[in-house]
């Protein structure tokens, strides 16, 4: 055996893993080779020094600390426990809290007009406007095809009964105002044909959501008043000095203000309806819906029992639009407002409506009120 071969088995020799012939051979070589014998002694000494390092023991409480760490719940388990335990108590509380939050959010949405208005404009498209389109001299006979005919007032609902409830506006009593949003939607879908020059053109009002049995335009066509050339829309605008007093802090689109006003009026939210219609009149005095907006504003005043202010708005429409389709409606509403104030001159106005506009839808209503209150 050579020296390198003997040194190659030092490890196994140290571990007493050699036996038989290999063990005899290496033992004989070590006995005969002083260098290898010295190496072997050095090897054993070094390995003994390593082994003498021995084992070590951790701190006495090592096992207990490991157990504490084992038993300590994980952080997410602690959070879940804090959130849900005990289930019988915390889960019902959390369910109630969620319901209350949802209810509060709904209430906030309904009660907060700014929030509502901020959302609605993005959902309502602007109506298409053909500004330069030539206006027809008169609407075709038979009335506006897009105009939704409102049903007549219920037979059992008499003007006297309406009079007993001053909080309800007369228009709401005549026609089903809760359908105002749907009407408004139809109104938005109708292009507004407008002659802004005002010299020869006819300002054709769009289909108006009037709550009457027959639209003013239909009435005008049937009663032969369609040929009367209306004045320019600029003349219909309220006096600048008056409108300057109307506060309109928010610049909303005309459709938004008008439709929101109709919705508020239908919901009985008269104060908000007044705000919207006043803002509409202030910001869009040339809008073709301006006369109707004033009538609606009067309705809102009427709903609040502010008959004098309602009367002022009704009279303004009749004065500014003496040949407009809103005249019978205006006269009828004036009569209602005067009667509500105890002014018997309202009866004379009702007779005028019945006599001068016999085909107007207001004529039938006027005759009913005359029979009930003006005997």
């Amino acid at each position: 055996m050579r020296c390198d071969e003997a040194r190659a088995v030092f490890s196994e020799l140290y571990d007493e893993a050699l036996s038989g012939a290999p063990l005899v051979t290496v033992t004989q070589h070590l006995a005969n080779c002083p260098a290898c014998r010295a190496d072997w002694a050095s090897f054993r000494k070094a390995m003994q020094a390593v082994a003498d390092l021995g084992t070590a023991e951790p701190s006495p409480d090592f096992a207990a600390r490991v157990r504490r760490r084992l038993e300590a719940p994980l952080r997410w388990r602690r959070v879940l426990r804090w959130l849900f335990l005990p289930l019988r108590v915390k889960v019902p509380i959390q369910a109630v809290a969620v319901v209350l939050l949802a209810f509060a959010g709904l209430l906030l949405y309904q009660r907060l007009p700014e929030l509502r208005r901020a959302i609605e404009p993005s959902q309502i498209p602007s109506p298409p406007v053909a500004r330069e389109a030539p206006a027809p001299a008169s609407p075709p006979a038979g009335g506006e095809p897009v105009r939704k005919e409102e049903g007549p007032a219920p037979q059992g609902e008499t003007p006297k009964a309406k009079q007993a409830e001053p909080a309800a506006p007369p228009m709401a009593a005549v026609g089903p105002t809760p359908a105002a949003p749907q009407e408004a939607e139809k109104t938005r879908s109708v292009p507004v044909l407008r002659d802004e020059t005002g010299d020869s053109g006819t300002a054709t009002t769009p289909s108006q959501p009037l709550k009457v049995e027959e639209s003013p335009r239909e009435f005008r066509a049937k009663s032969g008043a369609a040929g009367v050339a209306p004045r320019p829309l600029q003349q219909y605008a309220p006096a600048p000095a008056k409108e300057a007093q109307i506060s309109a802090p928010q610049a909303k689109p005309a459709d938004v203000l008008y439709v929101t006003g109709l919705t508020d009026l239908a919901d009985g939210k008269y104060e908000r309806a007044i705000e919207n219609f006043r803002a509409f009149l202030a910001q869009y005095p040339q809008d073709a819906r301006m006369p109707d907006a004033r009538l609606r504003l009067g309705e809102a005043y009427f709903g609040q029992g502010r008959y004098a202010e309602a009367l002022r708005e009704y009279e303004a429409v009749a004065q500014q639009f003496p040949s407009g389709p809103q005249v019978p409606t205006s006269l009828y509403l004036q009569a209602q407002a005067r009667l509500a104030q105890g002014d018997r001159s309202g009866c004379q106005l009702l007779r005028e409506v019945a006599d001068l506009y016999p085909q107007a839808p207001e004529a039938a209503s006027a005759r009913q009120v005359l029979a009930a209150r003006c005997r």
């Binding site: 040194r7 490890s11 020094a49 390593v50 390092l53 021995g54 951790p58 490991v66 084992l70």
Partner: protein, 217 residues
């Protein structure tokens, strides 16, 4: 001393793994611990804490850090009990977890070495004392048994052990300090038996070469 606290006696004889598993003295405690009995696992910890702590200490050198590493090894073992199917002894399985965890820590430390060790170490101390590396690895407040180790030869051996590669160091620790058999080392490190023999031989020869100048003084 109770059965649970009995010192570790590692068999040096070669036994096939299935036979080992059948003879596993820890089986009952392992079953209880797997069922969530932390008390049973604490008994296993007491039984093997010396072995695991020594491995961590000899591999990493720092007593406080070695305790942390040993705790992590036991926590890993506890969380991995569901995966322990009993194909080998619990001790072998635990050695494997401990060895690989120590090797990972060793590699992490090699990549991200701490400049001066734990708090209290001084860079000037490291420059002037050839055994400063050992001191850096040693506990700053060693216990009485640790103080007994602080002979010159022990410090030299620990220092030279710290200079070995990880694979040489761990095989030397497992065999010459922990006393594992070749077969147990092969299972623990997942090596072939021949690889264990040759690697152990090279590690020992390197250690002898490093220690010989100090031993001849």
């Amino acid at each position: 001393m109770s059965e649970a606290e009995a010192p570790v006696s590692l068999p040096a004889t070669a036994v096939s793994p299935p036979a080992e598993a059948a003879l596993d003295p820890d089986r009952a405690l392992v079953d209880r611990a797997r069922a969530g009995d932390t008390g049973a696992f604490e008994m296993l910890v007491r039984r093997y804490q010396g072995w695991v702590f020594t491995l961590a200490l000899r591999m990493l050198g720092d007593r406080a850090e070695a305790e942390d590493i040993a705790q992590e090894i036991f926590l890993k073992a506890y969380r991995g009990l569901r995966r322990f199917k009993g194909a080998s002894r619990f001790s072998t399985w635990l050695y494997a977890i401990g060895s690989h965890h120590c090797l990972n820590q060793f590699e992490a430390r090699r990549r991200w070495p701490r400049p001066y060790g734990r708090a209290g170490d001084r860079p000037d101390h490291a420059e002037h004392d050839p055994l400063a590396a050992v001191d850096r690895l040693a506990d700053q407040a060693p216990r009485a048994d640790a103080l007994l180790e602080q002979t010159d030869l022990a410090r030299i051996v620990k220092a030279e052990l710290a200079n070995l590669t990880a694979e040489h160091r761990i095989i030397l620790v497992l065999r010459d300090i922990q006393g594992l058999s070749y077969e147990e080392i092969a299972q623990t490190l997942r090596l072939e038996l021949g690889t264990v023999r040759s690697r152990l031989h090279r590690a020992r020869m390197e250690m002898r070469a490093r220690l010989t100048p100090h031993l001849s003084k």
